[in-house]
Amino acid sequence: MAAGETTREEREQKARLDETFSQLYKAHLRDVYSYSYYRVGNHHDAEDLTEQTFLQAYRHFERAQRESDGRPLRPWLIRIAHNLAANYYRDRARKPQTSIDDAGVISAPHTTEALVEDRDDLKRILDGVEQLPGDRREALIMRFALGMDNREIARALGRTDGATKVLLHRSIKQLEEIVKQAEGPTEP
């Protein structure tokens, strides 16, 4: 009977775990999809990457929850997506087939679009983001597309908080330079 009790307990534990995972999935589907989309540059592969991320996450969820010590699991999810995206490029030996803007972000209606005076600015920004080295591009995606703070980004990228702060600062500076160059020389 004791063995039966243990089994029931384990079953209940698993049901609770599944429920928690379901909440995690609902809370962060958009984050994982947004991250995937900005990494691969098209909806088709972003869907695949999102699907793979959650399947991987489900497999390792119990351990991740145990080791998270109550901290949010979003950085862990994004780290899975980050690793899968790296595999995506390595295995298939390819780069994004279309630039992000071609895939529809700019053409999609932004709720605050009325505030933007010049759509070319957005295109230059996206082009600039694509020219950044991988870690800088990813840090910017995490900060601006997902709204992650320094600590979350640090956990997702496996860096210290300080190194992440420097990374973000340098990313923005480099992007600024790229955008300035794209704008051409300014008149005196």
Binding site: E10, L29, Y38, Q56, Y58, I125, E176
Partner: protein, 116 residues
């Protein structure tokens, strides 16, 4: 558009969150719910002692079948989703068939790796 504040506000606009397609949401819920949760729960619910009695074999076998069915379904859906790309790249009907089979095998391996 040259200072950092401008760049940051433009970054917020340029990198707006992207809503996942509804069909992805539905597919993921189906995959996570049926493929993993349901089959595992049913199989776990099968007391070890019941294995000795063939009358109790129906439920877990059905659960495994649901899991397998969902897995096959997932492979088919993923293979089907690449059909336009395959047609575009194929050099003829034989090549198209060969590409379809390769995609199917690849998706089957991926589902097996991810879930089981």
């Amino acid at each position: 558009m040259s200072d950092v504040a401008d760049i940051e506000s433009l970054l917020k606009l340029a990198l707006s969150p992207v809503e996942p397609p509804k069909e992805l949401e539905a597919r993921l819920e189906l995959t996570l719910g049926s493929l993993v949760g349901m089959a595992a729960e049913e199989l776990e619910a099968w007391e070890l002692s019941a294995m000795r009695d063939p009358r109790n074999w129906v439920r877990p076998v059905a659960a495994a079948a649901v899991g397998s069915g969902a897995a096959v379904g997932l492979v088919l859906v993923r293979t089907q989703r690449r059909r336009h790309k395959r047609r575009k790249e194929a050099r003829g009907p034989v090549d198209l068939l060969s590409r379809t089979l390769r995609d199917f095998a690849r998706e089957a391996r991926r589902v097996a790796d991810d879930v089981f």
